[in-house]
Structures are given as structure tokens and as C-alpha cells.
Symmetry: C2
Subunit: 330 residues, 2 copies
DNA sequence: ATTTATTTTGTAACCGTATACATTAGCATG
DNA sequence: CATGCTAATGTATACGGTTACAAAATAAAT
């Protein structure tokens, strides 16, 4: 079923059908007649044809590390809903922190001629292959970065000030009297890890608490298992608090403490980062750093503005300041 | 940049470029020359053109109620990975249990001419609008249903035998000596709710335990808040166990018990359904019913087989038998 | 060297839609 | 009733690919 078939049934030309389907001027009576036929035949015009003719699609690519990581589903939901309202829809790709996977995904989206891409990964900053790819692609489509700060600002970036976040929560711990505070960042290779470490250090310095490198672990991944592993090590060292680079790590630490019969928060305080839903359900509920939800909406808004040409000019970086959420674990 | 541009640069015709891009026979030397140019220009052929010509896309629609519901992310990940390996990619739509949203999503996928659709929702069985839509669409593309049993079998369905699951876990509770077992199903309108209730009843009957309608709640949604609400009511009635229609409800019940100072599992046992990740982290860890992971892969496999014409014939329903996972809450 | 078979390449049509431009219909005006 | 004007519709082409078919180039066989 094509517009030609509809045209034949309605006794008009394909152009008239197209005009009915879009915004063209059509005599009300024929419009009605055509619409009735379209309805009856359950006809929906083929996007491939539309896209090909217009050289522009309504597809948006979403690049994330792993949808099964509990940080992302909520974000994806917000993005989905926002874009749907604006007439776009999502093509979706997991990258699992692999540069090669991310390349695959970006290539696929390139072929699909997505109107824009939302990148929530942060791989390949030092890699020679991914950044040039972004640069090239950004000439043909709009791209935004979401989440972590980037080294180079080639596209609009909506990032959370994790330095500030870590600073805030470390300061909070210091305020509650903790002095021997451990720190579990994730993998060294991420820029955000460095950021977070700085926030932690700034808070210590401000209170004249000596920085003890033995209390800091910058290795492994941002998941529960590493939280358990590093948590055990730090708890054995006798820290009185553990600041974690994300909530999953913190949950791991809580589990480790549980096994060691260490009471949280009485013996040791534990904090997370991200404020995932899980954190509020775990026992004790997680004290953590929440990134403002607006970051996602602002990002989407900006992306659409770029795509539809209402926003032009140099890429911007917009920094969102996170807030701490105090629950039971600290 | 199009194949014509590439053709010009390579001094050949567009057909040759197309043949290089696909599997056509091309002289090795020209093939190499063309590939070099394609590489240099970072050219990727426009899918719209390809799709339009072939009248078939590499897009798969995924229809789920809500990605931020923790049941789905893992499923989505499995689907994503499977499809990627087979050269397909995902277009994604949340429906929030709304027939109108689901219609929107299906219409969008219709326009996109997706090669197939994976439906993990279960709305509109009794509704007049959604099922006819599926039926029509299934003439042009492959569709599979994932998850719950359906009334009518118009497409392949990969479902979990929730009756059996509920039967098994209720039997387990009876084996541990529980006799006054409450039951929280979700909304009455879902077919699965009925199924689960039957499983619960079958187990009771088998052990000659009288069925007490007062212990059964068939209302509300499958989420934590309703778990808390109904949990409180059942706990106040003095049940010695609560069987829940899914894990979120069970977590809610655990939270309610916590507030009421009721000890789980000593005072009251609680069980869930689905085995989401969260269940293993909550305290006490959830005893629940796990649906086999294979259900998703089998579904995907079947979908691709249908799409690529290797599977034909009448739609099948494949029923997967769930297993119980015993942890701490029962 | 000529014929024949095979490999390689080119030409042109087509997929479904949008739209610039041309045409026709409808209507008011003098 | 011819004229001019606007509204409605039609015609034809382009978008970026693929592919049937034709043609040319090369290799093999006589």
C-alpha cells in the first residue's frame, strides 16, 4: 500500500495524498474523502521514502554503556518520553565500555542517518578513534554528551559537577565527626574518577585532615562486586567512613560490612553517588549524591533545538550541581 | 556523500560501488581502490535508500510497559545483544500500560517498517483496538509476544507458566508449615493475574487447606507502593505468609513488615515473582520465582527465523516452566 | 586469429515520498 | 462573456540506494 494506491482509490493524484498527509492545501471535501480511505486501508506512509526525500530522519540515537546498569533505565525513560512528545523516537545501543562496540553503534546510527545522538558513555577520550569519529559525525548531525565531563568540548555537554558532589558529601562526613575516610573511585582511566578524587581531597584539605593515599582505591569497575572487594579491604584497615564513586559500589560496601558484622552507620558510614532507586531500598538506606533530573531534559531540549535549527553557535558545557541526599547509611 | 560521489572519485559506476558494498563480483583491484576511497571519505550508505529499495529494514521494534521498571532492563539487554549479532537494531517504545500509548508506538513502528516487533506488554486483550492492530500488522511483519500468556494465539508467544510458578512457590510455603497464606496479585484485568491465582489455589487444594478469599487481593499495580499498602492490610490480618505477584510487590511487603516490626521470615514468609536483581540485595533477600532466561533468546531466535523466512507456518505458543529461588525471605 | 565463455562493468529502472512547477477549475468582476 | 485571480490538483523529478539486463573487457579454447 502506497500513496499511489490511495490516490487511485480516491481518484486523485499522489501529490494530493501527500498534501493531505502533510500540510498542503487541499479542498476540504477531497481531504475528507482521502482521509476516510487512508483510515479504512490503515495506511501509514513509509518513513524510508519520507526520510530519503527529506534527507532528514526523526530518529535519535542513544548510546549508553549498559541498560541493565540501574543508573540508566530512568534516564532512558525520561529521554524516551521527551522525544516522543517532540515527534522523535529512539534507536538504542549498549556499548559495555568497549570502544569497538561504541564504534559499531555509532556506525549503525550513521547509516540510519539519525537526526541526533545522545551519548552517555565516556569511553575513548584518550583513544584516537572515537573522538575523531564524533567530530566527523557532528558535522552531519547534532550530538550531545550527557553525564561526565569531557576533555574536549566539541559538542554540547550536560554534565554533573562530580567534584562538587564529592566535596559536599565528604564535607558532610567530616561534619559528622569522621576523620579516617576511605574512598573508592572507579577505574583510573575515566576522567570522572580524577574529578571525584579531587572533590574528596578538597574537603579534607579544607578541614586540615591529612590525605592518606592508603585509604584511596582507584581500580576496578563501578559495580557491586568491586564494592564488596574494596569495601572489605578498607573496612579491615579500620576506616570510619567509605565514600564511593557510585551507588553500586556503596551497596557492595554495605554488603561487605554486613558480612563482617560491622554496623552501618554507627561503626562506619557509607555514601554513594547517583541516587539510584535501589539505594533507597537497601538496608540501611543509602546516603548519596543526587544529580538533578533536569540535566536529562535540558540535554534533550538542547538537542532538539540544535536539530531543528533554533539553536546555533559554539558548543556549550552546562554544569549541574548535585545535591546530597541524607538517608541512613551516613 | 553518496555512492555516486564515491563512484566519480573511483572512476567507476555507482553499480560497482554498490557491488563492493554488498557481495557482488568486483575485480579485486577495483574493489580495493573503491574501499580505500570509502574508508578515506568515511562513507556509510544511507539506510533509507537501502530500505526503500529492498522494502525491508533491519529495525526491530521493542514494546515494553516501562524501561524504568527493573524487570525489563535485563531483558532489553539480552534482546539488544542478540539482535546486534544478527545485524538488527532496536527501536524502542514505552507504553505505560496505556492502550493509546501502545497504539502510538505501534503506529510509529509501522511507519518505520520494522522487520519485526517484540511485544512484552499485555494490554488491550479485551480492547477492540489493539488486537485487530496486531493482526493487521502481523501480515506485513513478524511479531512475537514475550512474557504473559495471551487469550488468542495470533503470533508466536514465549510465555512463562505463571500458574505453575505460583503453584510451586505456594507448595514450598505449605511445605514449610505455613497455613494462612495471603496472596497479592496485581490488577484484575490482566490475564496473568487470573493464572497466578489459579496456581495459588491449586497448591492449597492439593494440601486440603481451605481457600480464604479474604486473604487474596487482586487490585492495584505491580509496584512497591501497592506492596506496602496491601502488605500492611494482610499483615494486620495475621497471615503467616504473603505470596506476591511480582518482586516489587514483595519488596513492598518487606518494607511494610519492617515498619510493623514483623520479622521475616520468622514471623511471616514473603515471596516474589520474576527474580529481579533488586530481590537479591534487599534484606532479607527475596525468595522468588525465576523465569528462565532462555525465554528471551528463544523469542529473538524465533523472530529472526520468521523474518528471514526460515520459519513458516502457524504461530506457536511455547511455555517455559519457572523455577523457585530460595533465599532468605521464605 | 577467431570464436566462445567468463568476468567485470555500465545503464537504467525502480522502491515510496515530497515538492517545484504547470495546469485546470472555480469564481468574481466589469 | 471574456478576463483575471485564487484555489485545487496534476505532472514530473529527485532523494540514495539495488539490481536486472546489456555491454564491454578479459580469458580460454579452437
Amino acid at each position: 500500500m502506497t500513496i499511489y494506491d490511495i490516490a487511485k482509490k480516491a481518484g486523485v493524484s499522489s501529490a494530493t495524498i501527500s498534501r493531505v498527509l502533510n500540510h498542503g492545501p487541499v479542498k476540504p471535501s477531497t481531504k475528507e474523502r482521502v482521509l476516510k480511505i487512508i483510515e479504512k486501508e490503515n495506511f501509514f506512509p513509509d518513513s524510508s521514502g519520507v526520510y530519503l526525500k527529506k534527507l532528514k530522519t526523526k530518529k535519535i540515537g542513544l548510546v549508553i554503556p549498559d541498560i541493565s546498569n540501574p543508573v540508566y533505565p530512568v534516564t532512558v525513560r525520561i529521554i524516551h518520553d521527551f522525544l516522543k512528545k517532540r515527534g522523535y523516537h529512539l534507536i538504542f545501543g549498549n556499548t559495555y565500555g568497549e570502544v569497538s562496540e561504541e564504534k559499531d553503534v555509532l556506525e549503525m546510527m550513521s547509516r540510519e542517518r539519525v537526526a541526533g545522538i545522545i551519548v552517555a558513555t565516556c569511553e575513548g577520550e584518550d583513544d584516537t578513534s572515537l573522538y575523531p569519529m564524533f567530530r566527523r559525525m557532528s558535522e552531519n548531525m547534532s550530538i550531545i554528551f550527557l553525564g561526565e565531563k569531557r576533555d574536549s568540548l566539541m559538542v554540547d555537554a550536560f554534565t554533573v559537577d562530580s567534584l562538587k558532589g564529592m566535596y559536599k558529601i565528604t564535607r558532610y562526613l567530616l561534619n559528622t565527626g569522621k576523620r579516617n575516610i576511605g574512598f573508592i573511585a572507579g577505574s583510573k582511566s575515566l576522567r570522572a574518577t580524577e574529578e571525584r578524587l579531587q572533590g574528596y581531597q578538597r574537603a579534607l584539605k579544607e578541614r586540615d585532615v591529612a590525605f592518606n593515599p592508603d585509604n584511596v582505591i582507584c581500580e576496578g569497575l563501578y559495580n557491586i562486586d568491586y564494592g564488596k572487594k574494596w569495601g572489605k579491604i578498607l573496612l579491615e584497615k579500620g576506616v570510619d567512613a567509605v565514600v564511593c564513586g557510585n551507588d553500586l559500589l556503596a551497596v557492595g560496601v554495605i554488603k561487605a560490612a554486613e558480612k563482617m558484622n560491622i554496623k552501618i552507620p554507627d561503626d562506619v558510614a557509607v555514601t554513594g553517588f547517583d541516587d539510584i532507586f535501589l539505594g533507597s531500598l537497601v538496608k540501611p538506606a543509602l546516603t548519596t549524591v543526587r544529580q538533578p533530573v533536569d540535566i536529562v531534559k535540558s540535554g534533550c531540549e538542547c538537542l532538539i533545538e540544535r536539530i531543528e535549527g533554533r539553536k546555533t553557535g559554539e558548543p556549550e558545557e552546562i554544569l549541574f550541581e548535585p545535591e546530597i541526599v541524607i538517608r541512613e547509611s551516613a
